[in-house]
Amino acid sequence: MKKILLGVGAAVIFLAALLASLAMGSVPLYPREIFAVLAERILGLHAGLADPYAMGVSSGASLGAVVSIVLGAKWGFSLLGSTEIFAFVGAILASLFVYAMAKINRRIAPTAALLLSGVAVGSFISAIVSLIVTLNDRDLHTVFFWMLGGFGGKGWGDVATILPVAIVAFSGALAIARPLDILGAGEEAAGTLGLDMKVLRRAAVGVAALAAAAAVSAGGVIGFVGLLGPHIARLAGGSLHRRLIPLSAAAGAILLMLADALARTVIAPVELPVGIVTALLGAPVFLRLLASPKEGRVL
């Protein structure tokens, strides 16, 4: 019953966010906005669990996309959405690889090992991406714009593609909300309360990888929304995950819609990649929060 109410609550917030942005008049309701919301719904989600950069997901997606673009140009295939599919597969494979690497040294992968392994694998994959792009500089422009992220030219078809993954990831994240709360006591204490860390870690990595892979493969690498969204949600609704997860999704969605509106209007008719806007505005705001003694502690 509670779960249903929470689900309804999340849906209401989600709709309210859409209506609010409509009312402000800056964001007309186009498929791409809904797409932005859905992508962010996921982007905002996973940040509570793991950051896509730290998990190596972003670089995995980039590698998939670059391989698709370069090979597509070379061998002349351009299946509908092949870049997105390649990016999705790349992201999933990268996150599984990161998880496997983190597990090598211990029976259970501790969070630190996961992060370190993610950074190492991410750097390695990024180097491969750079190498491929350098050797195929014809495709530099396409690759560059894909990696910056954006919603230009996205349509209802893209929404339909991402929607099922979004629903699965969102439900998955809500399902592990309670175990995640328990983790606040530390891994050892959580274990004494009956939490099987192995199961939770797998579930969390699975949900995070799925969500991040879907978002990154569809929208490109869009920085800082995933960090800011959950943070705003935490300030607004506290740290209990059953509230934090839906609120992060909503907060991220609103942020991304605003960023997209800016990206399309600042130097219109030229459209900026939305990733530039989010990073340019998001990073200073994030650093400001980090420096603040009150909010910084909540990060």
């Binding site: 328990i182 606040g184 530390g186 050892e188 004494t192 209990l240």
Partner: protein, 283 residues
């Protein structure tokens, strides 16, 4: 080993048989890669009894508790639940339904209210998808009241003082409502009144049939609360018995290397330890 616990008509809920506890060194080379902390450990936790585990810093009290609760695998021997069930065969959740623990140094990672923090003690009973029942909510409020936290229950756990947070952690263990409680230094960080309240709570729980083990550094607090004491040192149990049997000048000298005067308390026949350091004579 000096002394032995008196006969008690009930069977132990949790029993350590010939435990060898310590840490396996899986990744540091060496074929026999294990660091043994304690050996030949046998004792039981009985319903209605409070056991105090004492010993110098680093003697292995925490390691023993970790092994006892099934968190750490014993190097040899086994821990049995209800006399027959090897605790290693239980899942984390099954263990949490029978045995609650208070860890030595727990810290809250993010700010949630004391009430929400205490409520996580219901996780084993409710499961991943279960919702908190009305009866469980009452149990949460009762536990908060028992630990004198009613006024603090809406405060964030990250804003509480060390002693207040300690009480929150104990309240969470009460919410688990298990018949075995293992508490690692439950009185640390507490002021004198709260120390005594906590010990009174442990005695009250024992009177309701729970089996309790706690570790503590203050020997007099241990003697006040415990039916039975174990002193661990130098890789094993040095003494095991009633407080008066364990707390003797000889045993204290042997374990802690200090001279101590042991008297009977003026108000009852429990032992009372007064350390007598050599520099006292010079003053």
């Amino acid at each position: 080993m000096i002394g032995a616990h008196e006969s008690w008509p009930l069977k132990p809920l949790l029993e350590a048989r010939n435990l060898k506890v310590g840490y396996r060194r899986r990744w540091e080379g060496g074929r026999d890669g294990a660091r043994v902390v304690l050996e030949n450990i046998s004792f039981g936790l009985y319903p209605g009894r409070v056991l105090a585990v004492i010993g110098p810093n680093g003697a292995g009290k925490t390691t023993l508790f970790k092994t006892l609760s099934g968190e750490l695998e014993p190097l040899a021997g086994a821990v049995f639940l209800d006399g027959e069930l090897d605790i290693r065969r239980l899942t984390a959740r099954q263990k949490a339904l029978r045995l609650s623990r208070v860890l030595q140094n727990e810290r809250a990672a993010w700010p949630i209210s004391a009430r929400d923090y205490v409520e996580t003690g219901l996780f084993a009973a409710d499961g991943w998808f279960g919702s908190v029942s009305f009866a469980s909510r009452i149990r949460v409020e009762e536990s908060l009241a028992t630990m004198d936290l009613a006024a603090l229950s809406d405060r964030s756990v990250t804003e509480l003082s060390g002693g207040e947070f300690r009480r929150v952690v104990i309240a969470r263990a009460l919410v688990q409502d298990t018949d075995i409680l293992i508490l690692d230094e439950p009185t640390a960080d507490l002021d004198l009144a709260n120390q005594l309240d906590t010990l009174a709570l442990l005695r009250g729980l024992a009177r309701r049939g729970k089996a309790i083990a706690f570790s503590v550094h203050d020997l007099n607090l241990a003697a006040l609360a415990a039916d039975e004491m174990i002193l661990v040192d130098k890789g094993g149990i040095v003494a095991h018995g009633r407080p008066a049997e364990v707390l003797t000048p000889e045993v204290i000298q042997q374990a802690y290397g200090i001279r101590a005067i042991v008297q009977s308390r003026p108000d009852c026949d429990l032992p009372y330890v007064v350390p007598a350091p050599p520099w006292l004579k010079e003053r």
